[in-house]
Amino acid sequence: MDLETRLIHCMVTLQGFHEAACTRPRRRFGRGEMANLVALATYVATQSKGMRFNLPQNTPQEKAMYEVGKRLFFQRGGTHDFSCASCHGDDGKRIRLQDLPNLTKNPGDGVGFAAWPAYRVSNAQMWTMQKRLNDCYRQQRFPEPKFGSDVTIALGVYMGVNAKGAESIVPAIKR
């Protein structure tokens, strides 16, 4: 589980929420229980502000999710043959004028994985990593990853482990 799925687990099993109310992202990021989930995730993540990423890779399950995440990161497909690595596999690249972090390694303090959750000025919303990945896949012209699905967890593990040593600056501000 990532932070958001861990929160949902507690909301469902301890507080009695319906899972669908928390996890149905279609145009609902920022609405209803999803809004509360984003706020909670932002609050909890901000407790780690200033700390450096050091994701564990001690168990077979953690290692497996890293290996799956790596394969997803390089998975080319869709109408344009894009993978995550198309934009995030090299140093110093940009799309139009937007700088692109290299997520195959530690891209630096407060960059990439260490910058989320973040406030997106362009649409006036807080975005968590689930929303960030959902929108990356949209831009890749891929179908949609289900909220909290193993694809999103594995990519989080891959990026988080790669970001070892990067300082979290959450809550960040983004374009």
Binding site: E67, E144, V151
Partner: protein, 180 residues
């Protein structure tokens, strides 16, 4: 799913696990259906090479092996997004799917997202090489002249199917993908 792993899984085990995870994780969204996850040989081999950290040979062979080259030769002359002689105006901001929804079947390639072309457009990306003075550097002053035929055909082919020239080019196959 993870419980199926042995204590020392192989790369093939992780490949299988990844396929299972993909199958369980995605859903259709609008025009983006699950079939977009199905990889052709070119994408499968390039993805595997990236995971292994061993890039395929950049030029030539791979494109032929996976039938990419034949595809673009058969298709030469069909319309790609934009026309060479109209240059800059064929590289608008809008993406191909957006244009398709609006009924413009082939009206722009989003070139500037990744390439510099004209100095007048300062908002260009750097994922691809600069194409500033692309024709001039290749001796082309009139794309319709007989002397320009080879480079014009190469350029058209690159737009139609970039992978025919460079097996794992990151550039979308503008014609090939929509033809299939």
């Amino acid at each position: 799913v993870l419980a199926a792993c042995t204590s020392s899984p192989s790369s093939a085990d992780y490949d299988k696990l990844t396929a299972d995870v993909v199958k369980a994780s995605f859903q259709d969204r609008g025009i983006a259906k699950l079939d977009r996850l199905e990889q052709d040989d070119a994408n499968r081999e390039c993805s595997a090479a990236d995971v292994a950290g061993k890039p395929l040979d950049e030029k030539g062979g791979q494109g032929h092996r996976s039938g990419q080259h034949e595809d673009h030769q058969v298709a030469f002359g069909r319309q790609v997004p934009g026309r060479l002689e109209r240059g800059r105006e064929n590289c608008p901001e809008r993406s191909w799917p957006d244009l398709e929804r609006q009924g413009h079947a082939a009206n722009g390639g989003n070139c500037y997202n990744c390439h510099q072309i004209s100095k007048e457009e300062i908002s260009f990306g750097t994922l691809g090489p600069s194409l500033y003075n692309y024709g001039k550097l290749r001796g082309v002053t009139d794309p319709n002249a007989a002397a320009s035929k080879a480079i014009v055909e190469y350029t058209w082919g690159k737009l139609w199917n970039s992978r025919a020239y460079n097996a794992c080019s990151q550039m979308p196959r503008a014609g090939h993908a929509r033809a299939s």
